[in-house]
C-alpha cells in the first residue's frame, strides 16, 4: 500500500469513447499503453504508479539505516537482498509509468520538488534492529494487502509489475516476521525492542491504507476504473484481522485498548489512528520527511556528474562507431 490519497483526475472526453472504455474495464480487459484511454485515467495512474515507485526507493532508506549494523552476516545478506529487491521494484514501476508518457527523470523531479509524494510510513525512523523485523512484518504486510488485488488492476503494465513485485514481497514479510520471532524468543532486552517497535509502528502501519472511506474523496472513480480494487477501510480491517493473531503468537501486545474481537462482523474492532498526525506527515511534518527527501535530493545532485559522464561517454562511442563504418 504505497499509494495514498491518490487524487483521481476528472475527465472531459467524448462520452461515447468513455462508455466504450468503461465497458472494456467492466469486461476485465487489460488496457495497454497504445490503447485509447481517458486523460483522467492516464494522469491518475501516473500519480499512483509514480507514488508507488517513489515509495520503493525512499523506502530503501529506513532499512539502509540498518544494513551497516545488521547483527550477523546472514541478516546483513538478507537485508541487502531485500533492499535490492525494493530498488528493483522501483525500476519496474518507473518503467510502467513511462509507458504512460512520463519519463523517470520527470518523476524524480516531481518527487524532489514535493509535487509527488511517497508513502507516509517512510517518514518514521527505524531506531532498533527490531524495526527491521517490524517493517517487514507490518509495512510489507500492509503493502501485500494492497498489492495482491492490484495484480488484477486494469492497466496491463501495472498489473504485470505487481505480479513480479508480489512474489518478492511475501519473502520480505516472512523475513520480517522471522526477525520478530527471534527477538521475541530472545533476551529481555530483545523482547523489549520488539514490543517498542510494534508500539511505534502499529498506527503508522494502519495509516498506510489512507483515510477512512467516508473521508476518502478520490476512491469512487479509481474503483470504477479498477485502478483501486478495495476501499481503504476494507483493507485496513483485513490487515488488522490478519496481524493481531500474529502479534499474539509473538507474545506482543498491540497498543490499542479498544482492540476486541467482534463476533458479529467476524473481525476486530480497533481504534483509528490519529488522522491529524497522518495529515501532518503528508504535509511534510513527519519525523523524517526532511531527512528522507534531502537524502534523495542530495544523492541525485551528487550523482549528476556521473550521469553526465556516462552519457558523454556513450555519445562519444556512438560517434566513433559511425565514423568507423
Amino acid at each position: 500500500m504505497y499509494a495514498q490519497m491518490i487524487k483521481s483526475e476528472a475527465t472531459q472526453d467524448d462520452p461515447a469513447l468513455l462508455e466504450a472504455f468503461q465497458a472494456r474495464i467492466d469486461d476485465n480487459q487489460k488496457i495497454e499503453p497504445k490503447d485509447w484511454m481517458p486523460e483522467g485515467y492516464r494522469k491518475t495512474l501516473i500519480r499512483q504508479i509514480g507514488q508507488h515507485a517513489h515509495s520503493e526507493i525512499v523506502g530503501q532508506l529506513p532499512e539502509g539505516n540498518w544494513i551497516t549494523r545488521a547483527p550477523t552476516l546472514e541478516r546483513k545478506a538478507i537485508l541487502l537482498a531485500k533492499v535490492q529487491d525494493e530498488a528493483g521494484h522501483g525500476l519496474y514501476l518507473y518503467c510502467a509509468a513511462e509507458t504512460l508518457g512520463v519519463s523517470r527523470d520527470e518523476l524524480f523531479e516531481m518527487l524532489h520538488s514535493g509535487r509527488m509524494k511517497y508513502s507516509s510510513i517512510f517518514n518514521y525512523p527505524t531506531l532498533t534492529w527490531a524495526d527491521m523485523g517490524a517493517v517487514g512484518w507490518l509495512v510489507d504486510g500492509a503493502a501485500i494487502m494492497n498489492q495482491v488485488p492490484l495484480q488484477r488492476t486494469s492497466y496491463g503494465p501495472y498489473a504485470r509489475a505487481m505480479v513480479r513485485i508480489c512474489k518478492e514481497e511475501s519473502f520480505h514479510q516472512r523475513q520480517g516476521y522471522d526477525i520478530m520471532m527471534k527477538m521475541c524468543k530472545g533476551t529481555d532486552a530483545q523482547k523489549k525492542m520488539a514490543q517498542d517497535a510494534l508500539n511505534r509502528l502499529w498506527y503508522p502501519s494502519l495509516m498506510m491504507f489512507g483515510p477512512s472511506d467516508k473521508d476518502s474523496v478520490h476512491s469512487e472513480q479509481s474503483m470504477a476504473w479498477k485502478i483501486k480494487m478495495n476501499t481503504n477501510d476494507e483493507l485496513r480491517q483485513k490487515f488488522v484481522d490478519q496481524t493481531v493473531p500474529q502479534a499474539e503468537y509473538l507474545g506482543l501486545s498491540v497498543p490499542d485498548e479498544n482492540l476486541k474481537w467482534n463476533e458479529e462482523k467476524g473481525g476486530y474492532d480497533f481504534s483509528e489512528p490519529d488522522w491529524s498526525e497522518f495529515y501532518d506527515v503528508l504535509k511534510g511534518n513527519g519525523p523524517c520527511n526532511t531527512e528522507r527527501l534531502n537524502t534523495r535530493k542530495q544523492a541525485w545532485a551528487d550523482g549528476a556528474w556521473v550521469r553526465e559522464g556516462m552519457l558523454a561517454h556513450a555519445a562519444k562511442k556512438r560517434i566513433a562507431k559511425v565514423a568507423a563504418q
Binding site: V58, T68, L73, G303
Partner: protein
C-alpha cells in the same frame, strides 16, 4: 604452523570481502542512478556471501565452536587482515568505483588461480566466487573507462581517485611468510607472478579511460598483516559490531 598460515590466509580473503562489502553497502539508496543502486547492492551481497564462506572455513580451522559471525563481529582492529585500500571511506562514486576496479582486477585473477588450489575447500569457494568477481570486474572496469573518458569533470574526479588510491594498490602484491607458505603448499599462487598480469590489464583499462597512472610505486602497507590499519577501520567496526557488542550472547 601450516594451519596457522592457512588461517591467516583465510582471514585475509574473508576480511577483504567483509570490509569492502560493508563499504559498498553504505551506498544503499544513494547511488547516482537506480540501476547503480541495484548493482552496488548486488555487489555488496556477493561480497558478504563470500565472507560467509571464507570466514566460515577459518572459524572451522580455529575450532572452539567458533563461527564466521564470531570472527566478523568480535575481533578488534588489530586482528583484521584486510587490505588498507578497502577500509578507506567511499568518498564520491568515482572513488568507490576506482577502488572496486583496482581490487576486482586483482580479486578475479587471484580467485581464478585459487580455483585450482591444492586445498579442496579453498578451490571450491574460489570456483564459486570467481563467477561473481568476473561480473564485478566487467562492471567496475566499464565504469572506470566511461567516467574517465566522459566529461572534463568526470575525468578529473577519476584521475583524483586514481592518484589517491594508487599508493594503496601495491599492498595486494606484498608477499610475506603467510603468502610464501601458501604458495609452497600449492594453496595459493605466488603474488609476484600475479602482479605482472594485474598491471598489464589495469594499465590497458586505465589507458582506455584516458587516465594517467602515477609514476611513484610507493605502497602503504599494514592491513593484510594487521600491523597498522588506518583510523577508518575502527569506526567501521564500531558500527558493524554495535549489536553484538552491546548485547553480548544474544541470538539474532
Amino acid at each position: 604452523m601450516a594451519d596457522n598460515a592457512l588461517f591467516q590466509f583465510l582471514l585475509r580473503m574473508g576480511d577483504n570481502t567483509l570490509v569492502l562489502g560493508h563499504r559498498v553497502s553504505e551506498w544503499c539508496g544513494k547511488a547516482p542512478v537506480l540501476e547503480e543502486d541495484i548493482a552496488l547492492a548486488n555487489t555488496a551481497l556477493d561480497l558478504i556471501g563470500q565472507t560467509q564462506m571464507w570466514l566460515g572455513y577459518a572459524a572451522e580451522l580455529q575450532g572452539e565452536a567458533k563461527t564466521a559471525d564470531d570472527l566478523a563481529y568480535l575481533r578488534d582492529v588489530w586482528d583484521f587482515r584486510n587490505l588498507l585500500m578497502l577500509e578507506r571511506p567511499n568518498l564520491d562514486f568515482g572513488h568507490t568505483m576506482m577502488r572496486q576496479y583496482l581490487f576486482d582486477a586483482y580479486h578475479h585473477l587471484l580467485l581464478g588461480k585459487l580455483a585450482g588450489s591444492s586445498d579442496p575447500r579453498v578451490a571450491e569457494i574460489a570456483a564459486k566466487s570467481v563467477k561473481e568477481a568476473a561480473y564485478h570486474l566487467d562492471r567496475s572496469g566499464e565504469t572506470v573507462v566511461a567516467l574517465g573518458d566522459g566529461t572534463a569533470e568526470s575525468h578529473r574526479r577519476m584521475q583524483d581517485a586514481l592518484d589517491l588510491l594508487w599508493p594503496f594498490a601495491g599492498e595486494m602484491f606484498l608477499a610475506d611468510d603467510v603468502d610464501d607458505a601458501m604458495a609452497a603448499a600449492g594453496i595459493a599462487p605466488e603474488l609476484a607472478a600475479l602482479k605482472a598480469e594485474w598491471e598489464s590489464s589495469v594499465r590497458a583499462t586505465l589507458r582506455d579511460a584516458s587516465l594517467t597512472v602515477p609514476d611513484d610505486d610507493f605502497a602503504h602497507k599494514g592491513g593484510k598483516t594487521g600491523r597498522q590499519h588506518t583510523e577508518h577501520l575502527g569506526h567501521m567496526l564500531a558500527q558493524m559490531q554495535f549489536l553484538q557488542r552491546a548485547y553480548p550472547g544474544a541470538s539474532w
